[in-house]
């Protein structure tokens, strides 16, 4: 156990004060500090433990609810610039969020982009529970639609080229590089048009500069969907009996 003594000058005043007939007043003379690790050397307090128990049981039961099923392992590292879990995440968020956006604006989301680091846990083959959704997305991030100019979308492409990671992108995009040169860039099977604005679904975290996706800053327009990222995941799992997703070369690089 760490134990530290801090000696300091405040106490010195006492020495002079004892000659000065000042009324007695307690003075700080010494400080000791200690870091106490909370380990199993401490017994559990039964009063507290019993108080937690019904909450724990209820959370456990709720989190163990099976919502869906995946016939394959889903993770964020089974492809090079794409992944099964990343593709699923981007596609399911489009499916959940586009109706909300369309109803409000009569427009459609063009594509989805998240960040690779935002996929917080894999999902193993088998039943998918609520716990998986919470582990996948533990944060309270919300979904937003960002209207980007063609220029900003090109900035995004530069970012994706440079970062060279499997950032989740929805199936609407086909982005291929040959070494460092972009060879294909289509959105909804149309060639990318730099004069056009695009509606991109992402999270409030990334829109605000998370993972240095600065192309999302100061967009043409910003639409908060008031729909939490995790809620979209939970809603999709709840309505989907068996998850179908695959690597489809939406984002790749040839050497």
């Amino acid at each position: 156990m760490n134990y530290f003594n801090f000696k300091f000058l405040a106490g010195c005043a006492l020495f002079l004060m004892m000659f000065s007939c000042t009324p007695s007043k307690k003075q700080l003379v010494e400080i000791q500090t200690r870091l106490i690790p909370v380990t199993d050397t401490y017994q559990t307090d039964s009063l507290i433990e019993n108080y937690i128990l019904p909450y724990r049981n209820s959370v456990h039961k709720e989190m163990s609810t099976v919502l869906s099923y995946t016939p394959i392992d889903l993770n964020s590292f089974d492809g090079k610039l794409e992944s099964t879990l990343g593709n699923l995440l981007a596609d399911l968020c489009y499916e959940q969020a586009n109706p909300v956006f369309n109803k409000r604006t009569q427009k459609n989301i063009d594509f989805v982009l998240f960040n690779h680091g935002g996929i917080r846990a894999p999902i193993g083959k088998g039943g998918i529970t609520k716990r998986h959704a919470f582990q996948l997305m533990p944060f309270e991030n919300t979904l937003v639609v960002v209207e980007l100019t063609g220029d900003k979308v090109l900035e995004m492409v530069t970012y994706l080229n440079k970062s060279n990671r499997a950032h989740p992108i929805s199936k609407h995009v086909k982005l291929h590089f040959k070494k460092d040169v972009m060879t294909t860039f289509t959105i909804n099977k149309q060639n990318f048009d730099p004069s056009k604005n695009y509606y991109v679904l992402t999270s409030d975290y990334l829109q605000k500069g998370g993972d240095k996706m600065n192309f999302f800053a100061n967009p043409v327009s910003l639409h908060e969907l008031d729909y939490k990222f995790r809620a979209a995941i939970l809603d999709y799992f709840a309505k989907t009996d068996t998850i179908k997703t695959q690597l489809d070369q939406r984002f790749k690089r040839l050497n």
Partner: protein, 304 residues
């Protein structure tokens, strides 16, 4: 300058010269008043201990073990304060399902005395925090968040004072800038004020009007920002102010083996501490107070 301050200031100079190197350990400790401060930060809804196979924190933390250890220390020294530096909310399904109710109830059962708000304590909005507040049997302090135009108006005080065995302790809170960290729709009309200016004001009040013997800052500003040296942090706050004895920090999830000692504008030492996150550790700081006559009768060795 009043007489007492004058004598103290003189003492700082001369006693250092005449008494250097002597230790207080030679005293009988009977006369000393010991104030124990226990503290946590960034517990983030971690109510259960980590699993035994957890890769990083196996079998560590857990509120019911924390209760056992705190109860033992309170038994040893009833003059104990238990404090938290914020981010009580968010991090496990307990928060997602119960909105912080269980966190506040357990902290009340552990007899927390005071806490400040972290940015994640706004995760369900000002309204979400307000809703759980009745479950907290302890006070929240924040001196630089102005809650005037929110539900929390008057419910969160700038500071609170405690008297333990004749020693008066002032505890005030400081929160991190919310813009960019928390969505505006969540923090609503909460206004963030400059921590340094507020600290000077509040510690003056605590020192001169409340006559506190000990001043503690519960801070969620963060320990230090190496990449952004202009950003206010606990280390900067400690150096730029006076009157604070101890800053209990949070936000940066900094694991310190021991507190950092920083020289303030008066040339005095301020301790800055932070104990990581998730209730993995509890910090303990024991302040010893003594009075004149005992120092005299014990022959006058004084730590320098």
């Amino acid at each position: 300058m009043n007489r007492r301050n004058f004598i103290q200031n003189t003492g700082l100079v001369t006693a250092g010269l005449t008494l250097g190197g002597l230790s207080l350990q030679s005293f009988s400790t009977d006369s000393r008043t010991k104030i124990t401060i226990l503290h946590t930060n960034d517990t983030h809804s971690h109510i259960d201990p980590f699993a035994a196979n957890h890769p990083k924190y196996p079998n560590q933390g857990g509120v019911s073990r924390r209760a056992t250890l705190i109860n033992a220390i309170r038994k040893e020294n009833p003059n104990t304060l238990l404090l938290d530096a914020g981010d009580i909310f968010q991090g496990t399904p307990y928060f997602n399902f119960y909105g912080g109710e269980l966190e506040f109830k357990l902290m009340s059962m552990l007899k927390y005395d005071c806490a400040t708000l972290g940015n994640h304590d706004f995760d369900n909005g000002v309204a979400g925090f307000y809703k759980q507040l009745p479950h907290a049997k302890f006070d929240f302090v924040s001196a630089n968040y102005d809650f005037k135009n929110t539900l929390l108006d008057t419910l969160v005080k700038p500071y609170k004072t405690f008297v333990k065995n004749g020693i008066k302790i002032g505890v005030f809170g400081l929160g991190v800038e919310l813009d960019g960290l928390v969505l505006k729709q969540l923090y609503k009309e909460t206004k963030y004020n400059d921590p340094i200016a507020i600290t000077q004001q509040i510690t003056n009040t605590l020192k001169k009007e409340e006559h506190c013997d000990l001043i503690i800052c519960l801070s969620h500003l963060g320990y230090q920002y190496k990449g952004d040296p202009t950003k206010i942090s606990d280390l900067k706050l400690a150096a730029a102010t006076n009157n604070i004895d101890l800053i209990i920090g949070g936000h940066t999830h900094t694991f310190l083996d021991k507190p950092t000692s920083v020289t303030n504008t008066d040339g005095k030492q301020v301790l800055v501490n932070q104990v990581g996150k998730y209730g993995i550790n509890v910090g303990r700081v024991d302040f010893y107070f003594d009075d004149l006559k005992n120092i005299t009768s014990n022959g006058g060795s004084i730590p320098v």
